[in-house]
């Protein structure tokens, strides 16, 4: 005897063991004793039969017809599917073991019956487990692959949607910022004058709170080939490059720049015609200019 429970203590617990009413630790101790005690094994078997009979005391309880039929239908569907799998596996095993059958040898295959020898049954059962297991594995794998593809598609779609949302959000924020740059409390507006034959018009909006500059112009002619327009912020001591731009084909211009500048240092805003890439300093007379007040 290797366990710590005496035979007497174990035998006194067999009734509770048969009822499955022992705590886990005590149950383990009793089972350890029973495993090595033939007398307790016999006693436990008899008590378990008594325990099993107790279920007979429960009164039959009728089920609602719909519930009764529902369960029955599910059971028969499951059993039918189970039988079909078993028959298919059995047929496949027969086919594999006997090789290709000639038409005259084709017989109706039936599910295994109890009359088979134990070893044949066990062998077939092992085959069934393997085949059913493989079928389950393949099925699970297909489902997994399908789910993975769906997940990737969903993630891609989600990514596209997120990108679209981000783009819209950025656009919205940009528009908000632009509106603020054009209409804020600290926005100075300068009207651009021009001597050009096309009489372009324009306004420079200087959002002093955000150091943001927005030039909006109309009817600006397309510069000649190899040329571009360049925006200048003019102070009493310097002409500061604020970037180059090209008008749209319809002559519309919207140029935005960010540059810090003391409020009282701006003298004028000018646009000149310059070589592509811009110039360090203006090389032509302004085609549009606005004087700061």
């Amino acid at each position: 005897m290797t366990d710590g429970m005496t035979h007497e203590a174990a035998s006194e617990a067999l009734e509770a063991l048969a009822l499955d009413a022992l705590d886990a630790s005590e149950r383990a101790e009793v089972l350890a004793h029973v495993a090595g005690c033939a007398e307790c094994q016999r006693e436990l078997a008899a008590l378990e039969r008594t325990s099993d009979e107790l279920a007979l005391a429960a009164a039959p309880l009728a089920m609602a017809p719909a519930q009764r039929d529902r369960i029955r239908a599910r059971l028969l569907a499951r059993a039918g599917a189970d039988r079909a799998v078993a028959e298919r596996a059995f047929a496949e095993q027969r086919a594999e073991s006997s090789g290709p059958a000639r038409p005259s040898e084709v017989v109706t295959l039936r599910a295994p019956r109890r009359g088979m020898g134990t070893s044949a049954w066990m062998a077939m059962a092992a085959g069934l487990v393997a085949i059913v297991g493989m079928g389950g594995y393949m099925s699970a794998r297909r489902e997994r692959d399908a789910l993975r593809a769906s997940l990737q598609a969903a993630q891609a779609e989600r990514g596209v949607r997120l990108a679209a949302v981000d783009s819209l959000r950025a656009t919205l924020e940009d528009k908000d910022r632009m509106i603020a740059n054009l209409t804020g409390a600290q926005v100075a507006v300068m009207t651009m004058a021009s001597q050009s034959p096309t009489s372009p018009t324009g306004r420079m909006f200087w959002d002093q709170a955000h150091n943001a500059w927005t030039l909006v112009a109309h009817r600006v002619p397309m510069p000649k080939s190899g040329r571009t327009y360049q925006l200048w912020l003019v102070t009493p001591t310097a002409k500061i490059n604020a970037g180059t731009f090209m008008p749209k084909p319809d002559g519309e211009v919207m140029v935005r720049a960010t540059m810090a500048m003391p409020t009282d240092s701006l003298a004028a805003v000018a646009v000149t015609d310059e070589p592509i890439g811009g110039s360090a300093q203006p090389t032509t007379a302004p085609m549009m200019v606005a004087t700061a007040r």
């Binding site: 039969r49 325990s51 007979l56």
Partner: protein, 188 residues
């Protein structure tokens, strides 16, 4: 067709036999499961799983070890207790089922849905149970249908653990004696 024949047919893959067995025993199985569980969904699941397990394990049924009815009800009780214990672990709440009241009923002269043999078997068991002192029956039922351990029964009833153990042991010994007829040759 006798139950053992139905089970043999089930073992050979005859799902019609399963249908017949279900028609014959669903109310009895339902009665056992409903003694352990209370939620209709749980009960329905466990009734189905009971017959499904019978289908899958039909080839292992040994008529020498007991009647088909007993086998089915043992499966039903086991599955129901599994479900009840799982629910208890999840909810950290007392196990479903009877709260200690003694609910053994006298079997009717004939139970609807039971054939004569099954009715007689049930009468024998309920008669044996009814002869137990109430406190022994309570300990037995809390363990059997409630799935409670002896220490849990002691806690539930406020009785010393040693008392619960003694009551349960005495109850089982008496029942074992009373139910011998079910296992004897020519018994019901």
């Amino acid at each position: 067709m006798r139950d053992v024949v139905l089970v043999r047919e089930m073992a050979s893959g005859d799902d019609r036999a399963l249908g017949t067995l279900y028609d014959r025993w669903h109310a009895v199985v339902h009665g056992v499961v409903a003694r352990v569980l209370r939620q209709p969904d749980d009960i329905e699941d466990v009734v189905e799983e009971t017959f499904w397990q019978a289908w899958r394990q039909a080839s292992r049924f040994d008529p020498a070890r007991g009647a088909v009815q007993t086998w089915l009800l043992t499966i039903a009780r086991s599955r129901a207790l599994d479900r009840a214990r799982a629910l208890r672990r999840r909810r950290e709440s007392p196990i479903e089922g009877d709260d200690g009241e003694v609910v053994v009923e006298q079997a009717a002269a004939s139970d609807p849905g039971l054939d004569a043999e099954a009715t007689e078997r049930r009468q024998i068991v309920t008669a044996a149970l009814s002869q137990l002192p109430a406190e022994q029956r309570q300990a037995l039922e809390l363990g059997y249908y409630g799935g409670l351990s002896q220490s849990e029964i002691a806690e539930r009833t406020g009785q010393p653990l040693g008392t619960v153990k003694t009551r349960m042991r005495l109850a089982m010994q008496k029942l074992r004696s009373q139910l011998q007829i079910l296992h004897s040759e020519g018994g019901p």
